[in-house]
């Protein structure tokens, strides 16, 4: 019971931090929100007996990626006052229906009360993650090399300076 309450509390916090990271207009706060989300997820992973996944989540997602984000954000310039206000207004308009939809869907699900057995079967025999990685899923390591290469080309192609970006062409959108 205590565990259930702890899980529910952590999941609620995770959701709130995630929503804050997406909704906040300040990039720095958004990056911090993401780091908090990762930190809460780390706690959940530890509680669910996945310490190695927790360590990766904490060191890579909450640590390294946040540092990279904050470094990049420190190189940007914030919007001027009037421009920022106009953006805030359009953003509020865009998301105003989101909480209403969530409430309606929640109420509908509560009213319908679907009888679904979603209890999960127990996980199979656990294997050491190193063994899985090196002795079972070697093809996926090749895949990982390919993803890293794609990321490297992406950084080079998108972040290198190009003097004249092409003007958009084409007809009207619909």
């Amino acid at each position: 019971m205590t565990f259930d309450i702890l899980y529910i509390a952590l999941l609620t916090l995770l959701l709130l931090a995630g929503v804050w990271a997406v909704m906040t207009l300040n990039l720095l706060k958004s990056a911090i929100g993401l780091a908090v989300t990762s930190a809460i997820l780390t706690l959940l992973l530890f509680l669910m007996d996945a310490p190695l996944a927790g360590v990766f989540e904490l060191s890579v997602c909450a640590g390294l990626i946040t540092v990279v984000f904050i470094s990049a954000i420190s190189l940007t310039k914030p919007l001027a006052g009037a421009e920022a206000q106009a953006r805030d207004r359009s953003r509020v308009k865009r998301f105003i229906f989101l909480p209403i939809i969530i409430v309606i869907v929640g109420a509908a699900l509560y009213a319908l009360h679907p009888q679904m057995d979603l209890s999960l079967p127990p996980a199979g025999a656990e294997m050491d993650v190193r063994q899985v990685l090196w002795n079972v899923r070697r093809l996926d390591l090749v895949g990982q090399i390919l993803v890293i290469l794609a990321g490297v080309f992406g950084v080079v192609i998108l972040f290198k300076d190009q003097p004249d970006a092409k003007e958009p062409q084409g007809g009207t959108k619909s």
């Binding site: 070697r138 090749v142 090399i145 794609a150 992406g154 959108k173």
Partner: protein, 485 residues
Amino acid sequence: MPALLIIVPLLAILALNLPWMRLMNRLALWVGLILCLIQAFLVILHPDFFWQAPSLWLGHLLLFAPTVDYLSLVMFLAIAIVGAVALMVCRYSVPSITDPAETRTCANNRFLVINLVILALTGMNGVVLANDLFSLYVFLEITAVASYILIAVEKGADAFEGAFKYLILSAVATALILAAIALLMLTAGSLSFTHVRLAMSASPHSHVVLAAVAMLVVGLFIKGGLIPFHGWLPDAYSAAPAAVSVLLAGIVTKTTGVYTLFRIVISIIGFNASLQTLLLFIGAASMLIGALAALGQSDFKRMLAYSSISQVGYMILGLGTGTILGIAGSIFHLFNHAIFKSLLFVNAAAVEQQAGTRNMDRLGGLAEKMPVTGSTSAIGFLSTAGIPPLAGFWSKLIIIVALWQAGHIVYAVLAILASLLTLAYFLSMQRRVFFGKLAAGFESLKEANAWILIPACVLALITIGLGVGIPWLFETFLLPIRSLL
């Protein structure tokens, strides 16, 4: 040995990025083309030593023994052809550091784009070879990551918008697919297609399995750009550079969305009434809404993008019949679509590059100045609309006959109506772009160069050849599909 289709391109990319940059710059395109041609010849000549003989050292190194069936071979051929065409269009439309006029462009786009195209092709080969759900997911992601970057490569506002929409919706699809994989792993204890299929047939009414299947199918609908998850597709196709549009429309969404759905339905889930109803409904909606939306477009590439949604609808409709004939028609249409949609995007690239616009309202009479582009475009659109004796006619006919035989008469009638709509919007496109009086300002327009005319002519010849050679194809292409079920 088929695992070499992943390893050799990976080694090629590593070799291309060795220090001799000037030399590698010149070689990159040829390396990509040779890889694609070898892949195409391996499928056409089908040497047993490559496809059937197990490679002990490679199997030991990767712990991977792929099994290649008929559907995989069709996909490998389509990937090779569209990949080669995309690389040639890349040579035509993407600037290189070796061009004197572009020496200021320090990013040397062409070389990097070629590398990313080879990466995307490798990812797609991996998707086709995978016989395990997690490996399938890994290779889907490789293809997707390379595609996001390729769409944004021109760095304009439209390019970033297209790439961002694809990234966000693809991330949603990824989350759904990954969650489904986790549930299936818990249920089956393994992720190989065979184990998951056995576990699913052992507990067909488990709510966990049903939830996993629902998430998997919806995730793949998003990847395939089907209605109502198509929001990213027109922006991504139209904002991407010409070569990338060819690759995306010709093969990427077909492999990551449609092929993967086919593979999962055929090899894992199997057919049941609920799934077939869902596939038929989504297929029909995509077919009709895509065609209606294409009618209202004035941007050449956006119109082709909506047309792609409509044609993918046909494929899903054929799959939804659950019969051998329907699946055969769908796979044939998938291959045909890869060819004729690539052809139409190649033509759009030629028009955009030569005329400087894709806005069909500002174009007109271009066939006078660009006769090869105009003629091949006519072949492409007639095949898409299902006009005999071109390839598209036969694949659509087989799908419609399969629908009729399976008792889905309403869907068969809708498929015929959508074909008429396809003819309407393509006739409108051909009239506005290529026929009639030459539009003002295009008096000095010239035909595109060989880098775009050669792929256009080859694709047009394949479209005609597949249509005229249907008696031969029936034996070699359609009947072997029985082995899949």
